[in-house]
């Protein structure tokens, strides 16, 4: 197996028509680096919307108020049920059906309105599309986390006089984090790559930039390698971040924290057997 994988990689890397110098030439090129930056901006913005809205939706979904719960259910049903590509494209083209958005007093001429194209430029369209879609998935992840916290915790907090929201914010959600973090890390990593769909809105993120350059020099595979290199680097950094987040929220759940890879290495290297008294 290992041999087969090695042979495959070797064949691709030494392919006769693959220009490695093109790869190196564009790896740190300014246009590419700008694309990397925009990809990060899109990821962070979409995840912030996704997580914030997701928490609100999850709490609404579990609310005893049937209207709240139904609104949340409908949102999740709709945004999870349509492709994210369609949603990005929708926000990008919404100006066609609604050229102006504004607030005003009904049946009067008072009010202000703004051109939709000014209000939602391509980058914002991509962030809306990605973020609102993500919120639907995050809502389910957060809900699973909240349900995983033992009911006795809620009762103990209520018995002390805390309101529903205080119980949620201070007691239930911090404990739910342990269950919420791993899939959220997954979602963030997935989001980092899904931002390449912003391509349809001509947002100049990493993939769009690589594609544009390739369109001019026809070195498609080399530029895909350049893009892949950056995607891999960014997902690797996120994986490390996730480890430390999980460790932080494990407080109180385990008697001792899991050692970091560095601590493990140090223990391996610097643990000596102390000779006993003779």
């Amino acid at each position: 197996m290992l041999l087969l994988a090695f042979a495959g990689i070797y064949t691709v890397v030494t392919a006769p028509l693959l220009h490695w110098e093109t790869f190196w030439q564009f790896l740190f090129q300014r246009l590419i680096l700008d694309g990397v930056r925009l990809t990060l901006v899109l990821t962070v913005a979409a995840m912030v919307i996704g997580i914030t809205l997701g928490v609100v939706l999850a709490v609404m979904r579990l609310s005893p108020n049937p209207v709240m719960s139904a609104v949340s259910w409908f949102y999740i049903w709709f945004f999870r049920g349509t492709p994210v590509l369609v949603q990005i494209f929708f926000w990008f083209n919404v100006a066609i059906i609604l050229p102006y958005v504004g607030v005003g007093i009904p049946f009067t001429h008072f009010g202000i309105s703004v051109s939709t194209n000014v209000l939602i430029p391509a980058v914002v369209a991509a962030i809306f599309g990605l973020g609102f879609n993500e919120a639907a998935y995050m809502a389910e992840i957060v809900r699973a986390g909240i349900i995983s916290v033992e009911h006795g915790q809620t009762e103990a907090a209520q018995a002390l006089g805390m309101t529903r929201l205080q119980v949620m914010r201070r007691i239930v959600l911090p404990q739910a984090m342990r269950v919420i973090i791993p899939p959220t890390g997954n979602e963030t990593i997935s989001m980092l790559k899904t931002t390449s769909l912003a391509f349809v809105a001509s947002v100049p993120e990493l993939f769009t930039r690589a594609d544009q350059i390739a369109n001019s020099n026809f070195r498609y595979v080399e530029l895909l390698f350049v893009a892949s290199f950056w995607y891999l680097l960014m997902t690797s950094i996120l994986t490390v971040g996730q480890f430390y987040m999980e460790r932080y929220y494990a407080r109180g759940a385990q008697r001792e924290l899991t050692p970091t890879p560095f601590q493990r290495l140090r223990r391996l290297l610097f643990t000596f057997h102390v000779p006993g008294p003779t």
Binding site: A156, A159, G252
Partner: protein, 250 residues
């Protein structure tokens, strides 16, 4: 302090409380005993509105719990007012229910700071006094997982006391403990009783009921079968059902 009149409670078609009448006076320690499923825990949880009652009236310190009296109809109170009432009633659970993501100290200061808007300094000073009182002054920074069951339950008692309640409810506080840890928890409760705290204790500790309790209630199948002075009820039960129950546990 607590007044119950014809309190009824059902879970679906199962009638758990079938008309409970009782009164707890200030500074009284009332113990409730009975077989499991008799409704004693449910009744205790109705006192601070963790369970809603279906019929009857239940008041603490002269005010209805969870409802407002208007004419001859009862209206349910909004969450915020129920919370205010609950903050005056301390509760200790069988399974401790300490907040596992907080140290012993943080467990105790959380509610005073959040609900009563106390400053951290005030809340911490009281929390340290309370931990000292329950004999755990050295466990300030320990997480619940690092404490034994008995220690956890004593932190839980300190947490409830930090709200300076008028009334303390204990729901089988020693049932989940190893036998050798029961004593420490009962000692803390005895100290509380001596200081004049009004207490309602659901328990299987007949010794505690006899020595510390001012009154004893025996419940079975959702009604109060017998009530009175603990020594009399325990040594001279009048009812057949009380006799049968006591012969099994004593």
């Amino acid at each position: 302090m607590v007044k119950a009149e014809a309190v009824h409670k059902s879970f679906g078609r199962l009638e758990v409380l079938r008309g409970i009448d009782l009164e707890v006076n200030p500074k009284e320690v009332m113990c409730i005993i009975g077989p499991s499923g008799s409704g004693k825990s449910t009744f205790l949880r109705c006192i601070n509105h963790l369970e809603k009652i279906d019929a009857g009236r239940l008041s603490v310190d002269g005010e209805l719990v969870g409802y407002r009296d208007r004419g001859d109809k009862l209206y349910e109170l909004p969450d915020s007012e129920v919370c205010k009432k609950r903050s005056e009633i301390g509760m200790v659970f069988q399974s401790f229910n300490l907040f596992p993501h907080m140290t012993a100290l943080d467990n105790i200061i959380e509610a005073p700071m959040l609900v009563k808007k106390e400053s951290r300094a005030t809340a911490e000073a009281r929390a340290r006094r309370l931990l000292d009182r329950v004999g755990l002054a050295d466990k300030v920074d320990a997480y619940p997982k690092q404490l034994s069951g008995g220690q956890q339950q004593r932190v839980a008692i300190a947490r409830a006391l930090a709200m300076e309640p008028k009334l303390m409810l204990f729901d089988e506080p020693t049932s989940a403990l190893d036998p050798e840890l029961v004593g420490d928890v009962l000692d803390v409760m005895r100290g509380l009783a001596e200081d004049g705290m009004t207490m309602v204790v659901v328990t299987h500790e007949m010794g505690f009921a006899r020595e510390v309790g001012d009154s004893l209630v025996f419940m079975d199948a959702g009604i109060i079968v017998e009530a009175g002075n603990p020594r009399e009820v325990l040594s001279n039960p009048r009812h057949e059902r009380t006799k049968a129950f006591l012969s099994k546990v004593l």
